[in-house]
């Protein structure tokens, strides 16, 4: 089980990183002007490269390592033509292209220490003085791939001499070109049993590829991240819709069962309703008779002295009488309405549609009597 998987990082998240041999680069640790902001570091790196390299900067592949507050910057550069077009084509889909030594720069700070990194055809020395996260010493020696152990030992001894003043170096094997993504914003390497971590944003500085190309890749990555999140949101919406669809199907079945229950008990309920309605009607026939002639007589009793004639009367329920009448004296209508209101049995009188044509006023009066107030008489007049 690898260190990454033992730390819980899925192998599915492993990204391709191209690690170039250290000997392909010349490496320098350059001091920074005090107060240099991270934004100015890139400019100072280019300035330093122009001073130390025999080639113009556009002909170089370079990267650098710096931490905010650090007083120096580690710069590495290689002549662009050291790498073939085929090499560059292989880099296109890589998450990062770094010299192998860059991996060790992501180790957590651990005070003064030194490393001798054994690659297949190189040995690299890195030394930290404990005062700055950027190594104070970085040097590399190229070896033949089939170099004898004595030759490698001699290279290591020469590099150890350069680490004078630092603790005795630990000899570690070089890291191979794989990396795991930790979350969206971080990459992690397994390096000699330890974990070297880099923020994705910092990798652009470490990466030796063309800086404009990297900026374009960064923009593309950001765009892809937003697109992926939109896609995820879409997937979430589809999943939600599927869950709701299932819920709706279930709820539909439940509602169907309830509708069936309502339909099943409808005849019984209808029978009860009918019985209740008929019982009320029989009760009305027995106890609350409709008394239309008595109501008409009562209403007619207030006609004395007026010219009103009834044209049509009809009952609305047990206690309401609607009268359509006419008169040739319009004030009679209001006087009659007022007279009806004085009847003790009368609850209210409402004047409806009233028209006046050719001297004849036609009107509709709705009289509501108080329940039980109209007496049944043997001979309505």
């Amino acid at each position: 089980m690898s260190l990454l998987s033992s730390l819980g990082f899925s192998s599915a998240a492993t990204q391709k990183v191209v690690l170039l041999p250290d000997h392909a680069f010349f490496v320098r640790v350059a001091p920074l002007t005090p107060g240099t902001t991270p934004a100015d570091v890139a400019a100072q790196v280019e300035l330093a490269l122009e001073g130390m390299s025999p080639f113009p900067v556009p002909h170089l592949l370079y990267g650098y390592f710096h931490r905010p507050g650090s007083g120096r910057v580690l710069i590495y550069a290689a002549y662009r033509r050291r790498f073939t077009v085929d090499d560059a084509a292989e880099w296109a889909d890589a998450e990062a292209v770094l010299p192998a030594l860059a991996v060790w720069l992501g180790l957590p700070p651990a005070g003064a220490r030194a490393l001798l990194v054994n690659g297949a055809d190189f040995v690299t020395a890195l030394g930290w003085d404990g005062r700055d996260p950027v190594p104070a010493v970085v040097a590399t020696r190229q070896l033949a791939p089939d170099a004898a152990p004595e030759e490698r030992a001699a290279a290591q001894a020469a590099l150890t001499a350069q680490l004078a003043g630092l603790p005795a170096p630990a000899v570690v094997p070089a890291v191979t070109g794989t990396v795991s993504r930790v979350g969206e914003e971080e990459l992690a390497f397994a390096a000699d049993g330890r974990l070297a971590r880099f923020a994705v944003a910092d990798l652009d500085a470490l990466d030796v590829r063309d800086k404009d190309e990297l900026a374009a890749r960064r923009r593309e990555r950001t765009r892809d991240r937003y697109l992926w999140r939109a896609f995820q949101a879409g997937m979430g919406a589809v999943a939600l819709a599927a869950a709701l669809e299932l819920g709706l199907v279930g709820a539909g079945l439940w509602l169907k069962a309830r509708a069936a229950q309502a339909a099943a008990q409808a005849p019984a309920v209808q029978a009860i309703e009918t019985k209740n309605s008929l019982a009320s009607r029989i009760e009305e026939l027995s106890a609350n008779r409709l008394l239309p002639l008595e109501m008409i007589s009562l209403a007619g009793s207030k006609l004395k002295g007026s010219n009103i004639q009834f044209l049509r009367t009809s009952t609305k329920g047990l206690y309401t009488l609607e009268i359509e009448g006419q008169t040739n004296s319009t004030p009679d209508v209001n006087n009659y309405q007022a007279a009806l209101r004085e009847l003790p049995a009368c609850d209210r009188v409402e004047l409806g549609q009233t028209t006046d044509r050719g001297g004849i006023t036609r009107f509709v009066l709705t009289i509501t009597f108080k329940p039980g107030a109209v007496p049944a008489v043997a001979n309505p007049s």
């Binding site: 892809d224 919406a237 589809v238 939600l240 309920v269 209740n276 029989i282 239309p292 009367t313």
Partner: protein, 175 residues
């Protein structure tokens, strides 16, 4: 899935995202419409079941009230729709307005214990006294026969004659 998505061309990513978003939007909006319809159906169904339950809960009380309503009625004096029709004709005959009468059976509402029959009865061109006599005769048949609706109008062209429209109901107790 992520690896598959991220390795697509930009236009494919946009197309996939747009298609997914469109599909999700259409599906969710369809769900919204159907969910609203379901909500309305559920509310109507709940209301219907609640009303039904109230009736069922009151069944015993209604049965008792119905039995009480007809308890004082003599089944021998109740009227079927045809008997009611005949009775109204008899009264009209007695009053002397048989020739002015017309009637129509409107229907019967029936339970297992009793029924209520309804007839529309009209008298045309009758005078007030005849109408009054007819009305008083009818009133004597209460509570077996009763008036449910009454409409009176002056006959066109003759103010002393009246047209009457009655809706008459009778109780019929199942023997």
């Amino acid at each position: 899935m992520k690896a598959f998505f991220l390795t697509r061309l930009f236009r494919e990513k946009v197309l996939l995202t747009a298609l997914l978003a469109l599909g999700a939007l259409l599906w969710l909006s369809s769900l919204g419409r159907r969910g609203h319809a379901f909500w309305l159906q559920w509310q109507a169904n709940s209301a219907q079941l609640a009303v039904q339950q109230r009736w069922l809960d009151n069944r015993a009380g209604i049965e008792t009230a119905a039995a009480k309503a007809v308890a004082h009625l003599d089944p021998g004096h109740t009227f079927s729709s045809t008997r009611l029709l005949g009775e109204l004709s008899t009264i009209a005959d007695d009053v002397g307005v048989r020739g002015n009468a017309a009637s129509e059976i409107l229907g019967t509402e029936r339970t297992s214990q009793f029924a209520v029959n309804t007839i529309q009865f009209s008298l045309r061109n009758v005078d007030w006294d005849s109408l009054k006599r007819f009305y008083l005769e009818l009133a004597q048949r209460a509570p077996y026969i009763g008036l449910e609706q009454f409409s009176l109008s002056v006959a066109p062209g003759n103010a002393s004659q009246l047209n009457v429209m009655l809706r008459v109901s009778s109780v019929e107790i199942e023997k």
